[in-house]
């Protein structure tokens, strides 16, 4: 078993969670009042965990860098939340959701965790409805579902295109109730800068008040990190601007293993980069692929003419277009999973067929859908021989009803009308499956330090299915962590309050202050963004949608050099004891500059292609991912040893007892 003990309960898969809940130690209500828990991050996982922990009786302190817990980036999730309710009677079950998730993750996730996720998914919906989350309903008054992300059943619950927002506001409301009761103390505009260990256990954090710049000590019996993913490593992503890896990385440096850092999800349908000024990428819902056809010009000279603005896409004849997904994957066509669609787009653009001025965009064309819907509508309206214009007009109305808000959003950003000319899309970094290694109890390798939601690595393997991120965040926060943490805290009922007046806190605070001084005293020439953009370019070009040994090695060297340059030459204006956005960014980028290297190192050791990780050396003759289950069916958990290049690899073997491991095929 080695260093990594996943603590998976024994017994049949379907009974593990119930059995575990029966067996773990509980803390009696009177004692919970004497126990403090710190929760860092107030998204779906952190918000729901803190609400439930407080409700159970623990004293909770929450920390978020935003001005309100309600603004965490879970709010931006559009599509929906999966749950094995089988309300549609289409044969869904806990097992099927479990199976789809493991398969979708390309067999790189832990069976027992995923099964538990599927099992508690139904509770999420019950809970959220009771809380007043206004999910979409059918005319009969019951909850509506839609299908999502290429699975065969309709199990996705949604609230317009704002499901994440509604679920987060639900968790925020539950938090507010506990804040009002005095059970949660909410620290907003606060950033965790370090984790404090006492006798090897997580006993508190050092945080910076982002308004006053004051460095604060906060002690607790346990620390929960729910600080999200690290996709901003790429500079450009669909993440919010403030998303960062600081909390998780600090924990990593204090002994928490970081698992599968190279597993990143790159979403195929985002609005392409328009220029160097770009700060952020905007996602266009995956649902657009249900009706849009993806293509690039067949001939290179046409692609060039389009890039130069000499040719319009609508002028290109049908036979001059390459509908490459339909060509390569006749069975799934435009509906292949995210990782496959993203890679195919990159492949075409790399070959010179890209269609915007940067050469990094493909078309998502609704013309065929407009005409198809228009024809259907004309027939049902009694127009038997409709002309093209009538069909187009009617078709546009149907498409507007389905995707109107998305089309409008696109037009706002790109200034082109997608009803008249095909949309341009390109893949963008969207989610990170990797994260802090946790056991079945969601505890990291540091006792008393837990990780929930996107911050941990647990459930999505090498690729996440659509509408599963919300499910995991809430499952961890509402239904798993508040119980499993009791097992650990039951030993702490006699500990009494944790003091912040100890050598450990002194040392941690000292280190944090030193780091800030160091960041602010490097009087170089370059802004923080300069380094962040450079890092992003390295990551995107060499550790992005497809990777190879040579470039990964280059990336490792380049990132290490960039990091050195950063510490010598970064320019952080202002003062440390003041509101200082540049200083905030500098601290975050400093961590990304370390994680980036570990990321590349992880990608380099994984000599296979699986899910979001595609190694060019490991592909079939047709260019499909080639997984190596014999040698790489493990979780790569990295131990910090002083420098990213020295990180030590620990392997947790993945055992599949309930699922037959197969090759994914979408041909």
């Amino acid at each position: 078993m080695g260093v990594l003990d996943s603590k998976i309960p024994s017994g049949p898969l379907a009974e593990k969670w119930a059995k575990h809940k029966n067996e773990i130690d509980l803390v009696n209500p009177a004692n919970k009042r004497n126990i403090d828990v710190i929760v860092v991050g107030t998204g779906l996982a952190g918000g729901s965990a803190s609400a439930t922990l407080a409700e159970l009786g623990y004293n909770v302190k929450t920390f978020c860098y935003q001005d309100s817990p309600r603004r965490a980036h879970s709010i931006a999730a559009q599509g929906g939340v999966n749950a094995a309710k089988n309300y549609q009677g289409d044969g869904d079950s806990v097992y099927r959701l479990f199976y789809d998730t493991v398969k979708g993750g390309d067999y790189r996730s832990r069976e027992a965790n995923v099964y538990r996720l599927a099992e508690v998914s139904s509770n999420i919906i019950d809970q959220c409805v009771a809380q007043g989350v206004p999910f979409a309903r059918e005319y009969g008054g019951l909850l509506d579902n839609r299908s999502f992300g290429g699975v065969l059943v309709s199990r996705t619950f949604y609230a317009k295109g704002q499901t994440g927002q509604q679920l987060l506001l639900g968790a925020y409301a539950a938090m507010n109730r506990q804040i009002q009761r005095g059970k949660i103390k909410s620290y907003t505009r606060h950033e965790m800068l370090d984790l404090v260990l006492v006798d090897g256990k997580a006993r508190g954090i050092i945080a910076r008040d982002l308004v006053t710049g004051e460095i604060e000590r906060h002690a607790a019996h346990a620390v929960v990190l729910a600080s999200g993913g690290y996709g901003n490593l790429f500079f450009l992503s669909t993440y919010c601007m403030g998303a960062n890896v600081m909390a998780a990385w600090r924990a990593h440096k204090k002994g928490a293993f970081f698992a599968n850092p190279c597993f990143t999800q790159i979403h195929p349908t985002c609005i392409p980069v328009s220029g160097d000024h770009q700060s952020k990428l905007t996602l266009m819902s995956e649902s657009l692929r249900n009706d849009g056809r993806i293509w690039v010009p067949k001939r290179l000279e046409d692609a060039q003419a389009i890039r130069e603005g000499k040719l319009k896409p609508t002028q290109l004849k049908e036979e001059d277009r390459d509908y490459y997904l339909e060509r390569r994957y006749p069975a799934f066509g435009n509906l292949v999973p995210r990782d496959v669609a993203s890679r195919a787009a990159k492949e075409r653009c790399d070959a010179g067929h890209g269609v915007n001025k940067t050469g990094e965009a493909v078309y998502l064309d609704f013309e065929a859908a407009i005409m198809r819907y228009g024809k259907e509508k004309a027939y049902t309206s009694g127009i038997k021989d409709p002309d093209k214009e009538t069909m187009r007009k009617l078709g546009k109305e149907i498409v507007a009803a389905k995707y109107g808000n998305l089309f409008q959003m696109y037009e706002k950003i790109v200034d082109e009308n997608p009803y008249e000319t095909p949309m341009m899309i390109y893949p963008a970094v969207h989610y990170t499956m990797g994260g802090l290694w946790v056991d079945y109890n969601l505890q990291t390798t540091i006792p008393g330090c837990y990780a929930a939601g996107e911050a941990n690595f647990s459930d999505h393997g090498a690729n996440r299915l659509g509408a599963s991120a919300l499910m995991q965040g809430l499952a961890d926060g509402y239904f798993v962590l508040p119980y499993t943490i009791g097992d650990y805290l039951s030993d702490d009922i006699r500990t009494g309050p944790i003091s912040t007046d100890t050598p450990e806190f002194d040392a941690a605070e000292e280190a944090v202050k030193d780091r800030i001084t160091k960041l602010m005293s490097a009087k170089g020439e370059n802004s923080v963004d300069y380094y962040h953009k450079k890092l992003g370019k390295i990551m995107w070009n060499k550790c992005g949608m497809s990777r190879n040994e040579k470039e990964l090695k280059e990336a490792i060297t380049e990132i290490a050099e960039l990091r050195k340059d950063f510490w010598e030459n970064v320019k952080v204006p202002g003062k440390p004891d003041d509101k200082n956005q540049e200083l905030e960014k500098a601290g975050r980028v400093a961590d990304f500059l370390e994680l980036g290297e570990l990321f590349a190192k992880d990608a380099l050791q994984r000599n296979e292609s699986c899910g979001g990780h595609f190694r060019e050396e490991y592909q079939t003759p047709e260019g499909e991912a080639l997984r190596d289950d014999k040698n790489f069916k493990y979780v790569a958990a990295w131990e910090y040893m002083g420098d990213p290049k020295d990180a030590k690899l620990h392997k947790e073997d993945l055992v599949y007892e309930n699922i037959k491991v197969k090759t994914r095929s979408y041909k």
Partner: protein, 248 residues
């Protein structure tokens, strides 16, 4: 294009602020408004000056963090969007743009264009929830059918992103649209009706304590709301409040 900026600069909450002029020569029309400010800040950092601090996060119009008064309108001249969704093509070469923080006594300035909107959090804490436990809720989600149009209305109210544009736009700095959106969402749903009277009284009391102004039904909030929250919600809150008060 060339853009002249007049930006409110204020060192901290206790300092006096003032408008400072900046000029940007290389603004592209494809830039978002916030990216234009990024460019300005890069310039300032290069010159060794402190960049302009402004609140922003998701940059896709949903988190409600960005909060700028642009040429006298919250979130700028376009409708149904937040500042982060505003693009420079809405402006012309040579334009002068005045950028100020959202103004309200209840939203004190923290620095430059950043204001403290924790008053909104406190209004929500006063009752913006349904008092159910999050652990182990045994009632099946489909046990309470809810008419579709009621659910849709609740959803419309629930889309509020808490940005504060309603307060910024209102000549009275009133927070009625924000508060009423939450009151409405729960008052419409059967789950929320149980404690509706208590909720509206508590939330309105907190709203008043925070020092927001009174609603005079000018409708500015509805027009400027990036999510199109309707005045109907304010009427509903008035109704809920008055009937709760009459019933005692």
């Amino acid at each position: 294009m060339k853009i002249y900026l007049k930006i409110w600069r204020q060192k901290d909450a206790s300092s006096k602020g003032k408008i400072v002029d900046y000029t940007l020569d290389q603004v592209e029309s494809d830039m978002s408004f916030l990216e234009m400010l990024d460019v300005l800040n890069e310039d300032l950092v290069a010159k060794g000056e402190e960049p302009v601090e402004f609140d922003h996060d998701c940059r896709e119009g949903i988190c409600g963090t960005c909060s700028l008064m642009i040429n006298g309108q919250p979130h700028g001249p376009d409708r149904l969007i937040t500042v982060c969704q505003l693009h420079m093509r809405s402006f012309n070469d040579g334009d002068t743009i005045v950028i100020e923080p959202f103004r309200a006594k209840a939203f004190p300035v923290i620095k430059d264009l950043i204001v403290d909107r924790s008053a909104f959090d406190r209004i929500q804490q006063a009752g913006g929830y349904i008092s159910v436990n999050t652990s182990g809720n045994p009632v099946d989600a489909n046990a309470i059918p809810i008419e579709k149009h009621i659910a849709d209305k609740a959803m419309d109210a629930a889309t509020c992103i808490g940005c504060g544009a309603c307060v910024a736009a209102c000549k009275n700095a009133s927070a009625m649209l924000f508060t009423s959106a939450k009151v409405s969402q729960f008052a419409l749903l059967p789950q929320g009706k149980v404690e509706a009277a208590e909720r509206v009284e508590n939330m309105v009391r907190q709203m008043d304590l925070e020092g927001f102004g009174n609603c005079t039904n000018t409708g500015a909030c509805e027009v400027e709301c990036p999510k199109g929250i309707s005045l109907e919600n304010i009427a509903r809150m008035n109704r809920e409040y008055l009937s709760a008060a009459v019933k005692g």
